[in-house]
């Protein structure tokens, strides 16, 4: 090797200084008072425009106003969220790199055999930001006006009623598996790449029903092309107040919603997590955030970080049971 050029030596010195500086800041970050002292990175497991990206950008904008530090949204789509999960789990646990955590984080614990980042236990929850109901809708020509009538129809023609769901391992997909297991009906379960083509197929009538997140189905429910039979949440959705919940429709133990929130690497110090939780809760309570998020079909959540940890653990357990019971083979 030749001797380093002056420029290179200079760069090395600079790198060392930067490293020292970042270590110094990270060390000081444990005191919540001066947190955050640097830009915050929100890693979204989605392309620009995907639902976690929209959440991150909306919340990020108001968080920026509040903490007077830039909030940068970084898109790491793909690999069923695992690429983003891995990146954040391995980031410095200083509260400056956060994950937009979605149901996929909990579901992947059981959907994948061996996650290099250790699954959902590799994260500490900061706050649950939103929840969104799942909805069972049928094409308006299907002669079923309630969940009971739909199940009767499916029992009369076993395996013939086609239900479209978004990709394997999404909440809609698992919910359809769960529905068959709970009620014993046999449906023709057809998987699409995402919610939009599944909904389109239900609109054309080639499939009779679709189980998806409420937001993308909402315009078609309002136009009358699709008929909503039930929402999956414990309470009715303000967007479609006339649609009963699954519990009201007679489905026992069939209450769930999809959620999104923010999580940090597991080793992040508690004072930093508390400071972040306070900032996020203040942002989520801001009416401007609420208006922007409600327009996306999200129900704004908020709450303690312990509650979010509990939700992630409960979802991981619930969907784990479904995945095993429905005999969905984990991916290596």
């Amino acid at each position: 090797m030749h001797t380093p050029s002056p420029l290179r030596r200079h760069l090395r010195g600079l790198a060392a200084a930067l490293l020292a500086a970042s270590l110094g800041v990270a060390g000081g970050a444990a005191t919540a008072a001066d947190f955050p002292a640097r830009p915050i990175r929100l890693v979204a497991p989605a392309a620009p425009g995907g639902s976690p990206d929209i959440l991150a950008r909306t919340v990020g904008q108001f968080l920026n106003e509040r903490v007077k530090q830039p909030v940068v949204v970084e898109n790491k789509p793909g690999g069923a969220g695992n690429i983003a999960h891995e990146l954040v789990a391995r980031a410095a646990p200083d509260g400056y790199t956060l994950l937009v955590a979605t149901d996929q984080l909990a579901i992947n614990d059981s959907l994948f055999h061996d996650l290099s980042y250790g699954g959902s236990r590799g994260f500490a929850g900061v706050v649950q930001a939103i929840s969104a109901p799942q909805v069972l809708v049928v094409n308006s020509t299907v002669p079923a006006r309630s969940v009971a009538e739909f199940l009767d129809l499916a029992r009369a023609r076993p395996g013939e009623i086609a239900v479209a769901t978004p990709a394997v391992g999404t909440v809609g997909h698992l919910a359809t598996a769960l529905l068959q297991r709970r009620t014993g009906v046999r449906l023709n379960h057809i998987v699409y790449k995402s919610a939009q083509p599944a909904i389109a197929e239900a609109l054309s009538g080639r499939v009779q029903a679709v189980f998806v997140t409420l937001a993308p189905a909402l315009p078609h429910i309002q136009s009358g092309a699709l008929r909503a039979l039930a929402v999956s949440t414990a309470e009715r959705s303000p967007a479609v107040p006339e649609v009963p919940t699954t519990a009201e429709a007679g489905l026992k133990d069939f209450t769930f919603s999809s959620w999104q929130g923010f999580s940090a690497p597991a080793a992040t110090p508690a004072p930093v997590l508390d400071a972040l939780n306070a900032h996020f809760n203040a942002v989520l309570a801001d009416p401007r955030t609420r208006t922007a998020l409600t327009a996306q079909g999200f129900d704004v959540a908020g709450g303690t970080r312990q509650a979010f940890d509990g939700l992630v653990a409960a979802s991981a357990a619930q969907w784990g049971d479904v995945i095993r019971a429905a005999d969905i083979k984990p991916v290596d």
Binding site: G49, R57, G78, A167, P197
Partner: protein, 507 residues
């Protein structure tokens, strides 16, 4: 009929009143300009351009934002055609076809003519498609919905059969390239079962190989390696730019080709979920079939530039119909547009046309304005773009490599994709040495996964009954056309041997 035209007037009037307001024209212009400037950087196609510029639009009101995005899209798409023609660097699937004859024209010193034909064909197609949408939007949606999995499968089969026609030269090699493309298309997560195929435990491969690294590697990088091998002597060839404007004969060949391309593109663009990717390929195939001198294709036939460019632009236009009325994105670019609309609080769906007529018709009118601006921006710039070819290779190649790396990285923020591009560059060099053409490979790579998904879904919906493909009239029709295409390829060979026996089938 009078109602139809009265509506057309009212709707386009509303649209123009939105789109022709100084503010929206400004945003459209800014979008077109940004899109062209970034899209013309070698290696950065529409997907990368929109992914990069999307956040810029977050600060505008919804109508301006969507119109600016549409401008970026058209600009980037034209910019992508520019690099496809000048440097053989396709930024998205449709420009792969433009590479074939556009780049061949550039090599023959007709780069200026190829660029001008591309711009004029795009404008012609854009104008016709805009009128079509304004006239028939509601009924077009119904047509789009009549396409189910069985119809898609048959359409893809037809497209795949056409793929062999794309290649000039050895048919066995073209078939081998199709098979290789199908294999590469298999990589990723199986939609039906969620199982991973050929991912080797690499999470970046879980969603399959992306189109951009494959196209950049096979076309762009491979081209650079081949040129390096040929040495510096090539510079003089390319630098001979020749007359910038198309000749009279070129125009005479280009106009009917552009019109046919417009028809093909407008139809295929309507089909949600995969029609648009076919349009440029289909238009090229059609031209080659109709041409009395098909052997000119691949060596710089002007029809081979006009038809796919027109089809591509017409398809881009009409694909807004399923996007706006059904909310189904057809291409990665459209998926980004859906995301952008949602960020601005617009949920794509049937209500957009009625609930937000200003947005809907404004967007349609802005399409036409966008096309006009592209023409205004780009025709004077043709000379400038062509002069890029005069940049010495020792400056041009490193710059192309750099921009390719940036472009590929910016699509998914993935360094893995950059490595993949380098790998496919080497593969592309190997293919060039073996005289195998990458275009059929690309088509099979794009269509294969769609074909598999729709085949399985059609069978699943029909409870395993394969008869579904011949019972649905549209599907049957497409299969018959496929059969005719196959016979057309086989018959001439047979006819030479048994001319008399086949005399009746000719009539």
């Amino acid at each position: 009929m009078t109602d139809l035209f009265a509506n057309l007037g009212a709707n386009l009037g509303l649209g123009l009143s939105v789109a022709a307001s100084p503010q929206t024209v400004l945003w459209c212009l800014v979008g077109c300009l940004l899109g062209t400037l970034i899209g013309v950087l070698p290696g950065i196609g529409p997907v990368a351009t929109i992914a990069m510029l999307l956040p810029v639009t977050f600060y505008l009101d919804p109508v301006s934002a969507i119109i600016m995005l549409a401008g970026i899209y058209y600009g980037a798409q034209y910019g992508g055609s520019t690099t496809a023609i000048l440097m053989r660097l396709p930024g998205e699937s449709s420009s792969v076809v433009t590479c074939l004859d556009g780049n061949a024209m550039a090599r023959r010193g007709r780069a200026g003519a190829a660029l001008a034909v591309a711009a004029l064909s795009s404008f012609l197609a854009g104008t016709v498609a805009t009128l079509l949408i304004a006239l028939f939007s509601p009924s077009l949606t119904a047509l789009a919905q009549s396409f189910g999995p069985a119809e898609y499968f048959s359409l893809m089969l037809l497209g795949m059969t056409g793929a062999v026609v794309l290649a000039h030269g050895s048919v066995p090699k073209a078939v081998a390239m199709v098979l290789l493309g199908l294999l590469l298309g298999l990589v990723g997560t199986d939609v039906e079962s969620g199982m991973q195929r050929f991912t080797f435990g690499i999470p970046e491969l879980a969603d399959g190989i992306d189109f951009v690294p494959l196209a950049m590697g096979l076309f762009g990088l491979a081209e650079i390696i081949v040129n390096l091998e040929r040495g510096v002597a090539k510079v003089d060839d390319v630098a001979a730019i020749g007359r910038l404007r198309p000749t009279r004969e070129e125009m005479r060949a280009a106009v009917p080709a552009a019109l046919r391309g417009t028809a093909v593109g407008s139809l295929l663009g309507l089909l949600p979920g995969g029609g648009a990717v076919l349009s440029a390929f289909a238009a090229y195939t059609l031209e080659k079939r109709l041409s009395p001198t098909p052997e000119r294709f691949g060596t710089g036939a002007v029809e081979g530039v006009a038809a796919p460019e027109a089809a591509n632009n017409a398809g881009a236009q009409t694909s807004f119909v399923p996007l706006l009325t059904l909310g189904i994105p057809e291409t990665p670019v459209m998926a980004l547009m859906v995301g952008a609309m949602m960020i601005h609080g617009i949920q794509p769906g049937p209500q957009v046309m009625t609930a937000q007529p200003a947005l809907f018709w404004g967007l349609i009118a802005s399409m036409w304005i966008g096309n006009l601006m592209l023409l205004v921006i780009n025709l004077p710039l043709v000379g400038l773009w062509v002069r890029l070819l005069r940049v010495p290779y020792h400056l041009l190649f490193p710059a192309i490599l750099l921009f390719c790396a940036i472009g590929v990285y910016s699509v998914h923020n993935s360094a893995f994709d950059v490595l993949l591009t380098a790998l496919f560059g080497l593969v592309g060099y190997g293919l060039a040495k073996l005289k195998c053409e990458p275009a059929p490979l690309m088509l099979a790579f794009v269509l294969g996964p769609l074909m598999e998904e729709n085949l399985r879904r059609a069978l699943q919906l029909a409870h395993g009954d394969a008869g579904v493909f011949v019972r649905q009239p549209i599907s049957l029709g497409l299969l018959l056309v496929t059969l005719a295409l196959l016979l057309g390829a086989v018959l001439p060979a047979v006819r030479r041997v048994r001319a008399v026996a086949f005399a009746e089938t000719d009539t």
